[in-house]
Amino acid sequence: MVCLLKFSAFAFQGINPHASNLTPSTSSLQATTIKKDALGYSLASKHRSMTGQTKRKSILSGELKSVQIQEALPEGLKPELMPKHIAIIMDGHRRWANERGLTMQLGHTTGGRVIKERVFLCCKWGIEGLSVFAFSTENWGRPKDEVDFLMNLFEEEIRTDLEEFTRKNVRISVIGDKSKLPKSLQESIATAEDTTRGNIGLHLMMALNYSGRYDIMKASRSIASKVKDGFLQVEDINETLFQNELETKCVEFPNPDLLIRTSGEQRISNFFLWQLAYSEVYFPEKKFPDFEEKDFIEALSSFQKRNRRYGGNE
């Protein structure tokens, strides 16, 4: 009876019960594992390693605060220590291709396939936010044929993967100065953002033509405008307000818990300068096209080991 009520609640909220993270097989899992807080009751969960994908929705009564959908985690990973938001600097495509005598294009295409697989792992494991540094403002300095190839690749991937992202309840946001991107890519981005805006699964943020310093500068400019126009007082300005002016304001958890940068390079390279101030950093040696599921699990495991020692929160 309780399970039926919960399913009805989902239906009322317009959640598509046939979205892939709510597939019939998952639904049966859900029937026994959904937990709800703030209502004062919970369902018994299966005794195995589980993670939560917490969504904030309100229903008629306004009492339901969150719903947890539980998927199995790889052995060794604890659900309570999973990062909520992961940032990835996908580095090493060209070096990977050079090492194998392959073209730069194949390096980038392979990287595109790998990040898609990582996105779906995040969906499966209940990670709420994934930010990927796809193209920096400094990358315009690359050879024209590479830049053109990348722009086409982004557009093609956004277009062809949109249906699958929608099915998996992924919300797509693109941050960075989109005005400098090709018009057709801007249109694909707008379509993807509009189509997925209502999705409540993983929030995927792609940083295209992004610069951490530009992000901070724009936030400063925005605040200055609001003060000038009388919408803000100077004394109101604090860290939280500043953070809410950055491009990451669209996500629930704007500050990544974990930054992964592949290929052995150990720097932030003008990615989320503000947002990464308290993030754990992890620098694996593998180039991004080689960054497999087991490497991702290793990164999460390393994160959990460090946090387990210190209570999980700092």
């Binding site: 315009w140 500068m217 150990q266 932030i268 308290y278 754990e280 460090r306 946090n307 020692r309």
Partner: protein, 189 residues
């Protein structure tokens, strides 16, 4: 250098070793950071220790800063004010998390008198930038985290992590610098 989750457990002896090694290798600017501000709170002791180390390194046993007991063992001067160690504190900055995001927000308020359209990266850099951004950041502690280090300055900084500053050896430190010397920055290209 950032002492990430070792703020509660700082070893001033090791910290001053690191400062002296940096200076002797010709590193001009050193920033020490611990988010809890323990280093700032213990500046007097830090400088006293640095003073002592400086006198040992300069081999100056007759230095007025040091007293020799009957066994020829030099001791630091009681009040700990730096003098011969001046070369070791020139270019030394000690920060805590108050100089991170909090200071950035305070400094940004100074920009509010400027016409918004005139705010650009160069102007922000002028208000909150340092003489130079750190080329290298060494974090100490089992958590490999930036712990609120001033964010604007880390755009291209190479980040290295060591498990602890306590009992750090000169070789470990040099290994870190050697790794840094092998890095190649492509600057996006």
């Amino acid at each position: 250098m950032a002492f990430t989750n070792e703020s509660h457990n700082l070893d001033l002896n090791a910290v001053t070793d690191l400062i002296c090694w940096c200076k002797q290798l010709g590193i001009k600017y050193i920033t020490l950071y611990d988010d809890l501000g323990k280093l700032k709170g213990n500046q007097k002791d830090l400088f006293r220790c640095l003073d002592y180390k400086a006198s040992l390194l300069d081999g100056n046993n007759n230095h007025p800063l040091t007293k020799t007991n009957g066994n020829g063992y030099t001791r630091p001067r009681a009040n700990g004010t730096p003098s011969e160690s001046i070369n070791y504190i020139k270019g030394l900055t000690i920060l805590s998390k108050q100089e991170g995001r909090q200071k950035f927000v305070r400094d940004i308020k100074n920009l509010l008198t400027v016409e918004p359209d005139r705010i650009d990266i160069e102007l922000v850099q002028k208000h909150i930038g340092w003489t130079s951004d750190p080329e290298m950041l060494v974090t100490f502690g089992t958590k490999q985290c930036l712990f609120g280090f001033p964010p604007w300055q880390l755009r291209l900084t190479e980040i290295f992590s060591l498990p602890s500053h306590r009992n750090i050896t000169y070789k470990t430190f040099i290994d870190c610098l050697e790794k840094y010397s092998r890095t190649t920055q492509r600057l996006g290209a």
